[in-house]
Every structure is written in C-alpha cells, then in structure tokens.
C-alpha cells in the first residue's frame, strides 16, 4: 500500500511558528545542568577530596597574606641558638642552622613560593594558550612552525634550561618566575592545539564566521571559552609544578638570595639534615601540603568540568 490512499482527518493547526506552550523549554532548566558554572561548583562541592584540597590551599594562602602582620619576625634575623628544637625557646617550629626562626621562614617563604607558583603558572598558560590557539586555529604552515618550536622546547630538560636562564640573568624573583614560565608551557600548547583542532570544525564556529566574526573573535570569544575546561585543570596543576620548580632551583642555590622561600630553607639546611629533622622536614611538609592541595583541586576540577561525568 502507499500513503497516497492513507487519508487522514488531520487539519492544519494554526499558523506556523505558533509559540510552544509555556514551560516546554524548561525541560532541562528544571534539571541539573541549568547553569554551567553553578553545576560545576555543585559537582566540585560534592567531592570531599577536592574540598580538603581547597581548605588546605585556602589556609596556606591566608597564612602567607596575613601571617607576616600577626607574626612580624624577619626570617633572616637570628633569634636564638642554632638548631633549637620545635617548641623550645618560644620557637614553635624551632630554629635553623643559623638560629633563624623557622616559623617566620615558613610564613614568609610561603609568600615567595606561592607568588612564584602563581605568576609562573600565568606565564605558562599565556604562552601555551597563545601558541596552541594559533597553531590549532590556523593549521597549515603556522601549525607546523609553531609545533616545531614547541618540540624544540620539549626536548630540552626543563630544569636544566631554567637553571641556565636563571644563572644568565642573575636570580631574582622576577627572573625565576619568567624562567619557570618559559620552560613549562609546551604541554599547555599541545593541549590547547588539540582542543582548538576539535572545536574549530564545529558548526557554531562556521556560524560565527558566517555572521561576520573576525578570526580574533573566533579564537578568543568562541573557541577558547569552549576549550577552557581542560585548560583550567592544566592551569591548576601548573601552579603546583611551578612551586616544585622554584623549590628545586632554591634547593640548588639558584633562588633569590634576598627572599626567603621554602626551597631555600631546605637547600640551606641540607647539610644538617642528619643532625636535626625539623629544618628540612617542616618546609618539605609545607611544599608537600601546597602541591598536594593543588593536585586535589585539579582533580576535582577535572571531574566537575568533564561533561561526560556530569548528569545525575
């Protein structure tokens, strides 16, 4: 049989484009994914490990910001006998091999470590995203050139390169931050490029071009916001990596000699490591806590921003 003889009493129902009944669009609005950010936060807040990480990091940040005012002791001043054990002589964390206050060192050193970590991560992300975005968006020879540059940086051992840079430009907080940023952007660039390659072929990018958007807008306002979730995770983790980097450089004696940092505390006290546990263990624990908390936050963000893990 054919449909030709399939008569039906159905009549046309009113003009086209008749508004749909109110409420029909709230199918999804009522469900969880109404607002992307709020939903991501809900996922994040439901993850106990991520919250622990956030609490630890918040504690460290608050300590480094207001600590120096509550405990105004210069970490370079000698305040007691060398290697005073924790709790004795009014020194909560004891003193180091020169008799300097360890607590003051942790508080002030945290400031340096976190500042370097934060700014180095910003530089890492800025270089990585710019290069990855241009390579992924334009493709062709731009992609080939930029990826060769990326590979060049990738095959150099990053710590060695950072050491060379720091030695060349004399170690200050600024040069250390810049060096760390310059040696660690390659992964971010590759990640950004992969996301851009994936998103640039989607219809809404073409739609943007069809309504007259320029490349600049497509890159920064259309594709980048959609590529953000994995990059946010990468940014969080790169803060942790940068803190470790700074500690490593300071440990090797390539830190800024005028600024106390956790790595410097470990580096300078390393020769007394066998005589007293606290001058190296306490800053080590501080670094551990900071990096671990950032890793936990990164994992939590990864789950919260991953659309496949969302829903229910």
């Amino acid at each position: 049989m054919t449909l030709l003889d399939a008569g039906s009493g159905w009549q046309a129902t009113g003009p086209a484009g008749m508004p749909e009944p109110p409420g029909s669009d709230e199918i999804a609005a009522g469900s969880a994914a109404a607002r992307p950010l709020r939903e991501a936060w809900r996922m994040f807040a439901g993850n106990p490990l991520a919250l622990v990480g956030l609490a630890i990091l918040a504690g460290i940040v608050v300590m480094t910001i207001i600590g120096p005012y509550l405990y105004p002791v210069d970490p370079f001043d000698i305040v007691g006998a060398p290697l005073t054990p924790p709790g004795e002589g009014g020194l909560l964390f004891g003193s180091d091999y020169l008799g300097r206050d360890m607590l003051a060192g942790i508080i002030h050193g945290g400031r340096a470590s976190l500042t370097v970590g934060g700014f180095a991560a910003i530089i890492t992300m800025a270089i990585g995203i710019s290069i990855g975005a241009l390579a992924g968006f334009y493709g062709g020879w731009a992609d080939r050139v930029l990826m060769r540059v990326t590979e060049f940086f990738q095959v150099l051992p990053p710590l060695l390169l950072a050491m060379v840079l720091v030695t060349l430009f004399s170690p200050t907080l600024t040069t250390i931050t810049l060096s760390i940023g310059v040696v660690s952007w390659t992964n971010v660039a590759r990640l950004t490029r992969a996301e851009f390659l994936k998103i640039r072929s989607l219809d809404y990018v073409l739609a943007g071009r069809a309504v007259g958007a320029r490349d600049r807008r497509l890159i920064w306002r259309v594709i980048l916001p959609n590529a953000l979730p994995p990059l946010v995770v990468a940014a969080a983790l790169s803060v942790g990596v940068a803190i470790l980097f700074e500690s490593g450089l300071s440990f090797l004696g390539l830190g800024d000699p005028n600024v106390m940092s956790w790595g410097m505390m470990i580096g300078q006290n390393k020769q007394v490591m066998l005589d007293a546990w606290w001058p190296t263990t306490i800053p080590g624990a501080a670094i551990f806590a900071a990096v671990l908390s950032i890793s936990l936050i990164g994992d939590g963000l990864n789950d919260a921003l991953n659309p496949r893990l969302r829903r229910r």
């Binding site: 049989m1 030709l4 999804a28 219809d203 309504v211």
Partner: protein, 335 residues
C-alpha cells in the same frame, strides 16, 4: 508563485563553480589526490524564489552551499549576488557582504555555541555588523524571537535548555537577524522529528513571504523539496545532472538518477527502480558520465564521454546521453 512571470536580473547567479581540494594522503609521499567536491555547477535564483539542491552524501551539496557563502575557498567560477561579484571579494568587503547572505545549519545541536545565551546568539550578527543602536538591537532581538515562535524572555537561556526544534528556530532567527537577501538552508529539517519538521518548514515559508527572502534549499528529501522549492537542481558527484522547474521535474524526471531517487522513497509507491551500490567517492572519477557505474541504462557512450547539461524542454535541463532530443527518458517513470 506564477511560473510564467518573467524575473528581472537574478539575485544569485553562480557560473561554472568549482571547489576542489586535496584529499588526505594514504601514504607519505603518495601523490595527493584531488577531491572534486563541486565540479562546474551553474544556476540562477530570482529574488523571492527558492532553488532546491538535491543530492546524496558526496554529491557536493553542502560544499556548494559553503562556497556560496564564501566559507570554503573557491577553485574556479564566479558567484554574483545582486550584480556584485562576491566570489572576488576579500577582507572587509567580504565581511560586510555576509549580512546579505546567511546560512541555516543542519544540526541544531552543534551549530549553536553552548556557552552563549540564546539572546546573544541572535544578537551577534547585529553587533558584528554594527546594525542599529544598542537599544534598537535589544528590541530587534525580541522581535526576532517572536518572529520565529519563541518567547522573548527565553533569550536568557542557554542552547541546551531548548529542544531540537526550538534550537533550529534560534538558528533561523540568527540567520534572518541581519535582514539578508539570500538564506542558504542546508538540510534544515533532516535532524528533526517528523512532527517538528512541519513546524520548521512552515516557519521558513512564512518568513519568506513576510521578509521577501530568497532561499537556496539543500535537502536529500524530495518531498520537502517539492513543498519548498520553485526550481530543483539534482546534484551527483559535484555536477548538476538535472535542473527544472518544480512542476516539470515532478511530472517527468528525466535523468535516471532523479527517477531512482523518487522511487527509493518508502511508502510513496513511485515505481521500483533500484540502484546498485553506494554513491562513489568524488576522488577517482570515471571518464564518462559519473552516474554510468550505477545506471541501469548505461551504454558504451556513457562510459566514454561526459554528457553535457542541455535543455530538452522549456527550462528543463538534463545531462544524460540516453534522454533523446524530444525529452524522452530511458525509464518513463513519470509521477
């Protein structure tokens, strides 16, 4: 709607358009093969009319659409819009041209930026083209929402909060926002449920009437094409194999491929002409007629020489050796 009214200069004129691109190499150092996605097509569309482009996957219909919008590089040929050679434009002139030609996408899910609110999506062309003052744009977006059957307060929602049909309405609102002359619709209803398809088709019809729009309507569905289009061009492997006014085409499709397309529609009872195999790829093209490999009526001549598109009746063009000069097709499968 009167077919005999003589149109003035066409709004859109495409002449011998070709879009070729390099295929991905199978092995390193292998010679790069060329994909003849669109291989010399010509047509005109009068203002206020609708041209249907019909074809299966690999026919080049989407590439042709993107070429008209200058969203893929053109290999050869010209495109004129209202007397302006838009195929020669570049830079800012090309960008300004975009307000006059717009696009409706097939997939209502991937064509809207998931991070943009519905209102911002519709407003974007107005912002980018600098049309009106901010307050005027505000009013215009609200009016556009009403025009496509959405409520203005839905502007604040994100795309995922809408159904497929509603998303397609947003896409249409975006396309008509800059008051274009020409809207290219690429399979605008094929991703939607049947019941919703009719809603969207009715919306497009009504917008054409009220705004005087000209459509290039791309579809694989001959039923939809018959409903929407004044003229029909059938595309096969980058070439137009038949072009005719609607009535003439459906009364008597001349090309064997057109007849096969019609008879393939389930439940319509339009003959039983079955083709062998799938549409071949547009990479290694045979020397003769591109359809010869699947054509039940192919003779030696078809495999040797490529038939030109020629007029066999008033305004009815076909590219087939087997259609004689009186316009008698080898199949006789009229509707």
């Amino acid at each position: 709607m009167t077919a005999d009214e003589k149109p003035a200069a066409p709004l859109l004129k495409v002449d011998d358009l070709k879009v070729h691109f390099a295929a991905a190499r199978r092995r390193p150092f292998a010679a790069a093969a060329t994909v003849h996605a669109v291989d010399g097509i010509s047509f005109e569309v009068a203002r206020g009319r609708t041209l249907g482009i019909v074809g299966e996957s690999g026919s080049g219909k989407t590439t042709a659409a993107l070429a008209i919008l200058r969203l893929v590089p053109i290999t050869a040929g010209t495109i004129d819009l209202d007397g302006v050679r838009i195929s020669a434009l570049g830079g800012e002139a090309l960008r300004q041209m975009r307000r006059r030609v717009q696009f409706v996408f097939q997939d209502p899910f991937s064509s809207l930026n998931p991070r943009q609110r519905a209102g911002a999506i519709v407003r974007e062309p107005l912002d980018l083209m600098g049309i009106g003052s901010p307050a005027e744009r505000e009013r215009e977006v609200a009016a556009l929402f009403r025009a496509v059957g959405l409520r203005p307060e839905q502007q604040a929602l994100f795309p995922h909060q809408f159904s497929g049909g509603q998303r397609q309405r947003i896409g249409i609102a975006r396309a008509i926002a800059s008051r274009p002359d020409l809207v290219v619709c690429d399979e605008p209803v094929s991703a939607l449920d049947v019941a919703i398809q009719a809603q969207i088709l009715n919306l497009l019809t009504r917008l054409q009437q009220t705004l005087g729009l000209t459509y290039v309507f791309i579809s694989h569905d001959l039923g939809v094409v018959r409903h929407m289009c004044d003229e029909i061009a059938v595309l096969y492997l980058g070439r137009i194999v038949e072009r005719a006014a609607r009535a003439s085409f459906f009364r008597r499709p001349l090309h064997p491929y057109s007849a096969a397309l019609l008879s393939a529609i389930p439940g319509a009872g339009l003959g039983r002409m079955r083709l062998e195999g799938d549409p071949p790829s547009p990479i290694n093209l045979p020397p003769g007629c591109r359809f010869a490999g699947r054509c039940p009526f192919a003779i030696d001549a078809c495999r040797q020489s490529d038939p030109p598109l020629r007029a066999v009746a008033d305004g009815h063009l076909v590219a087939c050796h087997r259609v004689d000069d009186e316009g008698t097709p080898p199949h006789h499968a009229g509707v």
